[in-house]
């Protein structure tokens, strides 16, 4: 592909937890674009900006430990590096963990790339007594080394300057790993078969063949020689060849780290992390601390979220009143209704819960950036493994507390397809923020203050219990087999920077908002239309006249309700609600709930907006409290509980189905999820409601 002279492509490579993404954030700022690599579900982060008259594109490659293409991320990183498009490659190297980071360097040096090294967290390394001779390090690594600090952005400008200089000059990395005489002889023998290749790429492919990588383009002669040499070397050294190669690469990493460090010390025991781990992962206290942290997270979300939530609700109330006040009577009353009931009522109802969701994501971003998230996987793996999942599945499920859509996207960290699919299928059972909207309306409507926390806790737990059952079922049937290795880094604890926590939080909140802004707006209008048309012209009696003549306010209210019912009965939604009502009656649902559940499929939180519309058409001055009063009038607490349970377990929202289709690349899994969840929800709610009735809870 031809590129203009002033265009430069820079790639950012590095280990996970090397601070690569925070460096990227410093360079890219708000100019970043998040998308997907074509054909796979690996996230592609890039930024385009102008600098010194150059048009620079910077791509943040997936964080990997190795380039052997064992996972989709590794394959993507390798392919991008090998595409020959990059003008310079920046490897972000964690100075506090130089040896392990340089193992990736050992593989990078083989690729014949213009390499620049960002020695990240060098300040942290220095604080813990590690000092490196940068010139010597640059010499050993065969490319310039720039110290950087991902938490305050120090060195970022210099890094860009050096990277563009290297891009300009096209200086290739001069360092090579020496694999030892035996291996080098074999490599040379194999490389001899690659005619027409330059020496760098011949050597790289020869090593790849010895590493047992399947998709190397190689002449038959090279493949045969590689097979012979593999057998010979394995017999000779008595160790598998991939292990021998890794040893040599670590030999290089250890050698460079030792030599370039002042005093030969390049490993440092992170006392701080050790001390924190002895508390956070304590045999006795580790789990209580974990549960307490999760509980604190929830309280933070609710306590802090309440005030802004009130503001938003009040603001929306004023907006509705304002529109009604200035709207001329008899001019397009349906448009007024659309604005006030459809748009403000529907989307506004969702936006008012945004503070809660932002706080939840803030908490999760904080846990990720401190390093505690990896500990969560560590603490929970035993349980998750018993469920047929991976410790890493816990993280998507935790994110699922906020929203199922990013949670399903977060399953990308799982390497095995089986683990990933299982996690995707059970994540929707984890109660998301949208369902919290439903609980926030219904729980205070039906339960005394003392019970509310416990009902909420119980709902979340039921979701998790069902998820366990389904995961076990799936692992025993459709997704039987070995799970992926749980060999995972426990990164050092770090104080997160406000900036990266905020960017992290914003990324996810934005996904939620986009969903609220587009899908929910469209569907709340569609549902408003379903609930408004066709319009009924003739009623069983003349309601306006009857209401005007009503003897008491109570009678007038009853008449109004009857009028509403007749109106809604006639609309498309009322009709659909009635059609499905018999199927839902054993769960304690009437046609109103059935109708609202249609809305909940579009997006869970619409259940609330929908109940509002269904219960109060014509009466637009609704606030949650009056809606709750109305709910109390129509339903028992048992019915309220059944509604919440059904919303928790039933058909996931449309966005979840869509993202499942995208992430599994199969309509089969997406539709299977939809049908299975609805069936499970019906069975569980049926069981609970009927048991409740039998015990005499729902009477009166």
């Amino acid at each position: 592909m031809a590129r203009a002279d002033n265009q430069r492509l820079l790639l950012l490579a590095g280990n996970p937890n090397s601070g690569k993404t925070s460096l990227f954030n410093w360079i890219a700022g708000t100019r970043q674009h998040v998308g997907n690599y074509p054909g796979v579900t690996v996230e592609k982060k890039s930024a385009v900006f102008d600098r010194d008259g150059l048009h620079v594109e910077l791509v943040d490659l997936p964080g990997v430990y190795s380039l052997l293409a064992a996972s989709p991320e590794e394959a993507i990183a390798r392919d991008e590096l090998m595409s020959g498009m990059a003008d310079a490659v920046i490897q972000v190297v964690d100075a506090t963990n130089l040896e392990r980071n340089l193992h990736l360097t050992a593989q990078l040096t083989e690729m014949g790339l213009p390499l620049v090294y960002a020695l990240n967290m060098s300040d942290e390394a220095e604080a813990s007594g590690l000092k490196f001779d940068l010139d010597l390090l640059a010499g050993l690594l065969g490319g310039p080394v720039v110290p950087t600090n991902g938490s305050n952005g120090d060195g970022v400008a210099e890094l860009m300057r050096v990277a563009l200089e290297v891009a300009e000059a096209g200086t290739l990395c001069t360092s090579r790993v020496f694999y030892g005489l035996d291996l080098e002889t074999s490599i040379a023998a194999i490389a001899g078969h690659f005619e027409g290749d330059d020496s760098i790429s011949a050597r790289r492919r020869a090593v790849a063949l010895l590493d047992g990588i399947k998709d190397v383009h190689a002449p038959t002669g090279a493949v045969e020689t590689a097979a012979q040499e593999t057998t010979r070397l394995q017999r000779r050294v008595g160790r598998p060849l991939d292990v021998q190669l890794a040893e040599a690469r670590y030999g290089f990493a250890l050698g460079v780290a030792t030599e370039a460090s002042v005093g030969g010390v390049h490993r440092v025991v992170n006392d701080h992390t050790r001390r924190l781990d002895s508390i956070m992962l304590h045999r006795v206290w580790g789990l209580p601390i974990f549960v307490a942290l999760m509980w604190a997270l929830f309280n933070l979300v609710f306590a802090l979220g309440e005030l802004p939530m009130q503001w938003i609700e009040n603001g929306l109330g004023w907006l509705s009143e304002g529109i009604q006040a200035v709207w001329p009577t008899d001019v397009l009353p349906m448009l007024e209704s659309l604005l006030v009931d459809g748009v403000i009522g529907g989307v506004g109802g969702v936006i008012s819960f945004l503070p809660n969701i932002l706080l939840l994501f803030l908490g999760i971003a904080f846990l990720e950036d401190t390093g505690y998230m990896a500990r969560v996987a560590f603490l929970m793996d035993r349980v998750m493994h018993k469920m047929g999942l991976h410790g890493k599945s816990f993280i998507p499920m935790l994110i699922g507390l906020g929203c199922t859509v990013p949670a399903i996207m977060a399953t990308r960290t799982l390497e095995s397809r089986r683990d990933r699919l299982t996690t995707i299928m059970v994540t929707p059972f984890v109660s998301c923020g949208a369902r919290l909207v439903i609980y926030a309306l219904l729980i205070p409507a039906f339960f005394p203050p003392l019970w509310r926390g416990w009902v909420l806790w119980g709902l979340y737990m039921s979701g998790i219990l069902v998820a366990v059952g389904v995961a076990r079922l799936l692992r025993g049937t459709l997704l039987r087999g070995e799970s992926a290795p749980f060999v995972m880094e426990l990164p050092p604890y770090r104080v997160p920077t406000g900036r990266s926590v905020l960017i992290h939080m914003w990324d996810r909140a934005w996904m939620y908002l986009q969903k609220a802004g587009t899908v929910i707006l469209a569907f709340s209008i569609l549902l408003w239309a379903l609930g408004s048309f066709p319009q009924r012209r003739t009623f069983s009696r003349d309601y306006p006249a009857a209401i005007a003549q009503a003897a008491s306010g109570e009678e007038a209210h009853e008449l109004e309700a009857a009028w509403q019912r007749e109106q809604l009965d006639y609309t498309a939604m009322g009709r659909i609600g009635r059609v499905i009502e018999p199927g839902l009656r054993p769960l304690g649902f009437d046609w109103r709930v059935s109708t609202a559940l249609i809305g909940a499929f579009a997006a869970k939180e619409l259940f609330v907006a929908q109940m509002g519309i269904v219960l109060s058409l014509g009466n637009v001055e609704e606030t949650p409290e009056t809606l709750r009063q109305t709910l109390r009038k129509y339903y028992t607490p048992l019915q309220g509980l059944a509604m919440m349970l059904f919303c928790l377990l039933s058909a996931p929202c449309m966005a979840t189905v869509a993202v499942t289709r995208r992430e599994t690349n199969s309509w089969g899994w997406a539709m299977g999820m939809l049908l299975a969840m609805t069936a499970i929800a019906w069975l569980v709610t049926f069981g609970v409601y009927q048991t409740g009735l039998w015990l005499g809870w729902g009477v009166g």
Binding site: G180, V268, R382
Partner: protein
């Protein structure tokens, strides 16, 4: 000096003068005396003798300089010292504080050929980490008063005990993952922590922390010495 051996004392003087001649004030009698921990009068006597042998240019009360001959000898000694210290530390695995005095003693007896072969051997081990691992195992086994090391799988290693990785006895994705994370034969590993529910475990390897399930750790053979934390 041809093949005539100088006394080790003379060599020490030459080495000290070489070291001090690179400082701004140069090699003066007082400095030499301090470095070698002797009386200044002893130094004066020695310097006179060195002057007579044509190894240094010495005028009392002035800085001493090495003659070309003296410099050649001093540099040879210093080079041998560095080669010896590297051999002692890298190949024999001595700590710096143990290696330094031994190197100081041996530098006088080691011939240039010995120094060259020692450097070659250190280079050889650096280039063949597999060999290094075998040598490490052998060393580990012989350490202590013949008390044999215990061989076990990593999941049986008690918490906090340092062990040497011998082999990774598993195929496929797990082995690939383990070696790329740095769990290779010859590396030292410690079980730092066991998860509260009993599984997985957190290990320390190559200066960082890694977690793995016990079932996975069971594939890693390690050697360790009971009672040696």
């Amino acid at each position: 000096m041809d093949r005539e051996r100088l006394s080790s004392r003379v060599e020490d003087y030459l080495e000290a003068i070489l070291q001090l001649s690179e400082t701004p004030q140069g090699a003066r009698t007082g400095e030499i005396a301090r470095l070698m921990d002797v009386q200044p009068s002893t130094v004066s006597t020695a310097l006179k003798s060195l002057n007579e042998q044509g190894l240094v240019d010495y005028t009392p009360y002035d800085a001493v300089t090495l003659t070309p001959d003296g410099r050649r000898v001093a540099e040879e000694i210093a080079g041998r010292h560095v080669a010896l210290r590297r051999f002692l530390m890298e190949v024999l695995g001595l700590d710096p504080e143990d290696a330094e005095p031994v190197a100081c003693g041996m530098e006088h007896d080691a011939t240039p050929l010995v120094a060259e072969r020692m450097t070659l051997l250190a280079d050889f081990f650096r280039q063949h980490p597999g060999m290094m691992a075998k040598w490490l195992v052998a060393r580990q086994e012989a350490r202590g008063n013949g008390l044999p090391g215990v061989e076990s799988s990593l999941d049986e290693l008690p918490q906090g005990v340092r062990a040497l990785v011998l082999s990774i006895d598993v195929e496929g994705a797990l082995r690939r993952r383990l070696v790329e994370m740095g769990v290779t034969p010859g590396v030292l590993i410690t079980v730092e922590r066991v998860a509260p529910l009993g599984d997985p475990i957190a290990v320390e390897v190559r200066g960082y922390r890694l977690s793995m399930r016990k079932a996975e750790a069971a594939n890693i053979r390690v050697r360790w010495r009971p009672g040696l934390a």
